[in-house]
């Protein structure tokens, strides 16, 4: 490409890239075609989709997923851009959460499931890596906040202690940094050693984000993190995601289309286990290329 790569560095103004660079590179064009061929129903992200300087953090290729005999995902191929927010939308049961859970191999925890295809993290096959190291690098926040029955401090420190190798002072410092990053520090700094269950729902969810951030994940997956929260807590978490995207690749599953529009740079639309369309968020919401996407984002179904 002719435009110089400024890998992993963005200024806030370039959050939503306004224009993709012209497709001059024949190699990139070839990849695009190759990606598009295997499954006509699926629209993988073309190479040109990402703005200049945006790297590819994760990639799924022809991913199929089965719960027993029932297939939940069909030929998903997608690239997740580095240090951006990617949102997955779609009606309930469309497979977006299932797909999210293949990215950090949380799908392994359910018995009787099977994965076909390929998921890569920085070019490495996640199913070939040690599962605990994958989950350390790809953190996850769940729909229901799930703090452990420990103090606020111990919750955040859990991942650090499990992974080991840090002194007490380092743990304390990382805990503080994570709580600051998750915008919870000011609210809890005077009660770090009280039970995490004393926090409000929104605070608990931010605590779970802090807990995930403490181990310095490269990617943070969020599975409908705001679905049980009130609008104020929701907006706090959304602001948080926007700041976090400067240093972390974020993938969020949401039922709330306004939320996807507010926080994400790229949006994928899932329907019946297929990735129907993946594009820049503004494109998806303003001029989707497929009829199903348009019907969904305009509220005609789902």
């Amino acid at each position: 490409m002719s435009i110089p790569m400024e890998a992993h560095e963005r200024t806030p103004e370039t959050r939503v890239p306004r224009a993709s660079p012209p497709m001059n590179d024949p190699a990139a064009r070839a990849t695009q075609i190759a990606d598009a061929t295997p499954a006509p129903n699926v629209a993988p992200a073309p190479a040109a989709l990402f703005a200049a300087g945006v790297g590819e953090k994760m990639r799924a290729t022809d991913l199929n997923f089965f719960y027993g005999k029932a297939q939940a995902l069909y030929n998903i191929s997608i690239r997740i851009p580095t240090n951006h927010v990617t949102a997955f939308i779609g009606p309930s049961g469309c497979g977006k959460s299932t797909f999210l859970r293949t990215l950090n191999r949380m799908c392994d925890t359910v018995k009787g499931t099977r994965v076909e295809g390929d998921v890569q993290l920085d070019g490495e096959d996640v199913f070939g890596l040690d599962v605990t190291s994958v989950r350390r690098r790809v953190g996850m926040v769940f729909q229901r906040s799930n703090p452990f029955p420990k103090s606020i401090f111990d919750n955040v420190a859990y991942g650090l202690r499990v992974n080991g190798g840090l002194s007490r002072a380092e743990v304390a410092e990382r805990v503080e940094r994570s709580l600051v990053r998750s915008a919870l520090w000011d609210e809890v700094k005077h009660k770090l050693h009280e039970s995490a269950y004393g926090l409000s729902g929104g605070q608990q969810q931010r605590l779970c984000i802090a807990r995930a951030l403490a181990v310095d994940p490269e990617v943070l997956l969020l599975d409908e993190p705001c679905s049980a929260l009130d609008p104020i807590s929701t907006s706090k978490i959304e602001e948080l995601l926007l700041t976090l995207a400067d240093s972390c690749t974020i993938v969020i599953v949401t039922h709330n289309m306004q939320q996807a529009a507010r926080v994400s740079d790229y949006t994928g639309f899932f329907l019946m286990g297929k990735l129907v369309e993946f594009d820049k968020t503004e494109q998806i919401f303003q001029a989707p290329s497929r009829k199903e996407t348009e019907d969904y984002v305009t509220g005609r179904f789902g």
Binding site: T109, T132, N146, Y158, G159, V162, C208
Partner: protein
């Protein structure tokens, strides 16, 4: 909080007449709708439990007055038990009861909690259910059978294998010194351990199964291994329930009579060695009640019952205190 109160007020206001017609009519209305009947029934049930406990203590208290008046607090501090001389002291029995229960817990708690963790976290559900059924069957075996097994199986085995090993390695401690003839506090403790194991396993397993899955996922998603997630998140989450199972087991072992009587040796003495015979409160009551030929003897035995009751309450209370000081962040599950 605020909004739910508002809702409640609105809900009441919507039922016409409840506020304006207090008294007989409103009561009759509620009575015939069943609410008052149900309330009365459950209140009576709860009151009956309290009543039975109070009556029990009252009877023990009244029927032990001769012994209490004669010996006072010395009853608890002397270990002489001589019906011929009319001298009675509870100390040796208290010692035997506490030591055997402690040995039982020492063996049964790690085994039981370990088994419960395996059954709830690692075993495939079918295997888990089958094994749990087997373990719960253990609870249905009459205690006299455990006593027989203790006498005819456990004692020879210990004499032949365990005693030489313990004596060779730990024989220098008073705990494992001296000869082993068979009936002893060690055998009683082991038999009790087997008897209380089903309680610990089945209750702990239930509690562990009730831990929400999002706790496991939360830990795994941070890069914890299966064991780290189980030991550092799932077990702490369930710890109150697990302690509950241990209390249940403890209460059971303190009061166990038949099996202990058969294997403890029935010798009222205080010896440091676990190989030495001893005596427990429940055992002496069972053994000597029919032989108690004069009132002071009977009253002393009944006072032993009172002591056992108090001992159970004190030990349970202490255990609960210990738990509430360590488990302050735990969720009060089950």
């Amino acid at each position: 909080m605020h909004s739910s109160e508002t809702l409640k007020v609105q809900g009441e206001a919507r039922v016409p007449g409840t506020k304006r017609n207090p008294g007989a009519r409103a009561f009759a209305l509620r009575f015939f709708s069943g609410d008052e009947i149900a309330r009365a029934l459950v209140t009576i049930s709860a009151a009956l439990i309290l009543l039975v406990t109070v009556l029990l203590v009252y009877e023990l208290w009244i029927n032990s007055h001769l012994a209490r008046e004669k010996f006072g607090w010395h009853f608890l501090t002397t270990q002489v038990w001589d019906p011929n001389a009319g001298q009675f002291g509870a100390l040796a029995f208290v010692f035997g009861t506490v030591v055997t229960s402690f040995v039982a817990l020492l063996i049964a708690v790690p085994l039981g909690v370990g088994a419960a963790i395996f059954l709830s976290e690692l075993a495939p559900p079918k295997l888990s259910n089958a094994l749990t059924f087997c373990i719960e069957l253990l609870a249905a075996v009459p205690s006299v059978i455990y006593g027989l097994l203790g006498v005819f199986v456990l004692m020879p085995l210990i004499k032949q294998y365990l005693h030489p090993v313990l004596k060779g390695t730990l024989g220098w401690t008073p705990l494992f010194s001296g000869p082993f003839y068979g009936p002893s506090m060690l055998v009683a403790g082991i038999v009790l351990a087997v008897m209380i194991l089903p309680f610990i396993v089945s209750v702990s397993r239930q509690v562990l199964l009730a831990v929400p899955n999002d706790q496991r996922e939360g830990a795994l998603a941070l890069g914890a291994t299966k064991w780290e997630s189980t030991w550092k998140v799932v077990v702490p989450f369930a710890q109150r329930g697990i302690y509950g199972s241990v209390f249940l087991a403890l209460a059971r072992s303190l009061g166990e009579t038949m099996a202990v009587t058969m294997v403890i040796g029935n010798t009222p003495q205080i010896k440091a060695s676990l190989f030495a015979p001893g005596y427990s409160i429940a055992a002496v009551i069972a053994n000597e009640f029919t032989e108690a030929t004069y009132d002071l003897y009977v009253h002393s035995l009944i006072e032993l019952g009172l002591v056992l009751f108090a001992l159970t309450i004190i030990i349970n209370g202490l255990a609960r205190l210990l738990v509430s000081s360590t488990a302050k962040f735990s969720v009060s599950s089950t």
